[in-house]
Symmetry: C2
Subunit: 226 residues, 2 copies
């Protein structure tokens, strides 16, 4: 299959994967801003990824890109590395969850399959990374998920925090200070349709008001029952 994909290509594929997770296409500008490169650079790379053999993306001029099956497998491989590494850094090396992203971003491209297997085993084949993101299996299958944004809950609904959208350190520290970490129980007391502000109660803490800047960063799974 694919001899070896460059770090740059792996980053493009990973980013296309996450941008198309909800079904659309990844636009040139979205990719450019996520990857920190100029839009012109993205166009050039997409053209290349679409014309190599086998093609890794399907690229429609002015429309955007999606992954082929080969591209998706490569993306899942990198994503598995990234998320296993983040978990390993937290569990075995004592990193905090807001410090692992950059380190994993560099390591993900250079670890061997042997390394991947060893840390997966040592961690007991975890299903999620420290931010709650699902880790693709060793056979490169992304486990199913049915989490929804905290901001989509109606007043009175309860849920369990599953994952954070962002890997940004400042955002993560803010969420943590609110108790919004994977596994936490949260109840929406009020969801104001006007401004999108929520009043929530996390675990048995005092109720707090949060705005969409927060509630759009947190994915939850609604709790069964009445």
């Amino acid at each position: 299959m694919n001899e070896h994909l460059t770090t740059s290509i792996q980053d493009y594929l990973k980013t296309i994967y996450t941008l198309t997770a909800d079904g659309g296409e990844a636009s040139t500008s979205a990719l450019a801003s996520r990857l920190g490169v100029a839009p012109a650079s993205v166009t050039g790379m997409l053209q290349k990824l679409a014309s190599i053999e086998p093609p890794l993306v399907i690229y429609r001029k002015h429309q955007g890109a999606t992954l082929t099956r080969a591209g998706e497998r490569a993306a899942l491989e990198v994503l598995r590395h990234h998320r296993l590494l983040e978990t390993y850094l937290v569990e075995s090396l004592g990193y905090s969850w807001d410090a692992v992203h950059e380190e994993a971003c560099r390591l993900e491209h250079v670890i061997s399959e042997d390394f991947e297997q060893r840390i997966a085993e040592q961690l007991g084949h975890p299903e999620r990374d420290p931010h709650g993101s699902l880790i693709p299996t060793s056979t490169l299958v992304m486990p199913p998920s049915n989490d929804v944004l905290l901001s989509s809950l109606r007043g009175g609904e309860s849920a369990v925090v599953r994952r954070m959208r962002s890997e940004d350190a400042i955002t993560l520290r803010r969420l943590e200070s609110l108790g919004l970490v994977p596994g936490a129980e949260v109840t929406v007391l009020v969801n104001s349709q006007f401004d999108g502000n929520l009043t929530i109660q996390v675990a048995s803490r005092q109720p707090v008001a949060i705005d969409p800047a927060v509630s759009d960063q947190v994915f939850v799974e609604t709790t069964e029952g009445t």
Copy 2:
């Protein structure tokens, strides 16, 4: 100081360091063969390393290269990463000593100083890597050493195995099968001046004959006393 050195530059510096460890200059061809590139590529890189600010090597046309103080510091930084990583892979992830080199060679360029510190601490600030090579300190000082080649011992001399010259998997497995691992006690029963063959006894094993292909790979420290 140096913003960021590329992987390629780090490899050049590391290789120049080891080639000049015994005082000479690193030649173009020696570098080319160690790095697996064409001699012309080495010349180009040496010219560049000598003319950047601050210069990392001193390069004399047709003579070879040595490291400047800045180049040496950069080399020791990479070497510390490499050797700490090898130690970590063996101690914490169960790698065998003949499998760590390639993994460390890729990881050494991307780990952060934070990562370095964490594994150093977890390992108890080891002095040597799995092959017995000395690990530069966190202040980038290479500890002193007075080991000599096993092949230089005279008949009747005893010594402790300190380090292996090679990181090659096949060589390491051969040495291990002879019991020639760091810490092992070895006595030279006969050192034939003619062909360089030795008869040695490792620990309490049966004496065996080894040729220079083996005895030139092992550094030892001669034992005090009569």
